[in-house]
Symmetry: C2
Subunit: 199 residues, 2 copies
DNA sequence: ATGTCAAGACGAGACGTTCCGACTCGTCAT
DNA sequence: ATGACGAGTCGGAACGTCTCGTCTTGACAT
């Protein structure tokens, strides 16, 4: 029983790594995730297929890393004007805009698709991409709690889902258009629910 | 320019149709959607591949029809005990249970996946599978409005998303476990938001 | 310090496999 | 006789494994 002997990360070529992530991103935007192939990535990056298979377990993992690499150093902090409701409106409107952007829409749907049958990728997404965003939102809500704008015993995990769940639902199932007005309505109603005690 | 001459539906073999839908369902449960192939369906159903390609446009379409065929005659009516909040708790708990059922979880995720890159299938899903469920919920909320339990000018489309969005978000992104207690919390908070006027 | 050398990652691409979707048969029911 | 049917063939795309020969790197000997 020989374990498949893991490669040595210290000898990894940073040059190839970057070329792969860049090529993936380019192809993702050019042809979309469905028509993205490992062979095309390797060709574009000027890299052997084995180099991709050596370091990534799946097409989804490569995409995830390439997106993570791109979104590095994105400020994960929410505005704080002192008015939670106004700040949340800003955030929700920004999210709606992202959902309406064709490129981001496509990439996000692809990521979402891939997550469904890859638990490892799902965990990575939750911890490294989605997590920070949700935590930043919780931080802002906590600050609002501290100044009495929200119920002191509000469950923050539930709170963020109350905010992000509805637009997510509408976007993913395409039940209706996502507008700024809609974002504002959700914030109004969610904040109303979050002002009183949870039970 | 010869149009691809549509097949004649009146001569369609009901026997083959059922065999295909059944085989698809079986394979879906056995190997999951990702490893489901048209060739395997044809083999299992004792049918030529062309018979599948003749009547369905994609793997997703076959799956959708097979699920629709299964879920026929499912009562799409909500309980009405006179207490909206209690009735919604019942509904949300049932949804949580469905999400926690391994088979339904798998099928729903597969359907969800397929929707992301097939607009036609997405529309079918919205109109024929999801729509009735959402409409039934809206009906119940309308009745509650009529007896003054909810704000009279509440936007019902927003309302259903406020209820279903959060658990959907939690389930799809696997951010936390889905429990009955969680369902109850969501209902409590959503109803609180729905009691006052929307703005 | 400098030279030698084995380990292992690398680019390139051949290979066998799976599955797709179009197509071709001969059969069968209407 | 028409046209859907079961069965299966076919070229093509992409997969994931593999085998080359090359290049880099660190350990060791001189």
């Amino acid at each position: 029983m020989t374990p498949p002997k893991a490669p040595d990360p210290t000898r990894r070529s940073e040059r190839s790594r970057q070329a792969i992530l860049t090529a993936t991103r380019e192809l993702l935007f050019e042809v979309g995730y469905a028509r993205l192939t490992i062979e095309a990535i390797a060709a574009r990056a000027g890299v052997g297929k084995q180099t991709i298979y050596r370091w990534w377990s799946s097409k989804g993992a490569v995409m995830f890393d390439s997106l993570l690499d791109m979104s590095r150093a994105e400020g994960a902090e929410l505005p704080d004007t002192g008015d939670v409701e106004a700040d949340l409106r800003t955030v929700l409107r920004a999210i709606v805009d992202e959902f309406n952007d064709p490129v981001l829409d496509g990439v996000t749907r692809a990521l979402n698709t891939e997550i469904q049958n890859d638990p490892q990728l799902s965990a990575d997404m939750r911890d490294r991409l989605l997590g920070p965003q949700l935590e930043a939102t919780k931080d802002r809500l906590r600050a609002a709690q501290a100044v009495g704008q929200l119920a002191p015993d509000l469950d923050l995990s539930v709170a963020v889902e109350l905010l992000f769940g509805p637009p997510f639902h509408r976007w993913l199932l395409r039940t209706a258009p996502l507008t700024h007005e809609y974002a504002d309505t959700i914030v109004t109603m969610a904040v109303r629910a979050m002002r009183a005690a949870p039970r």
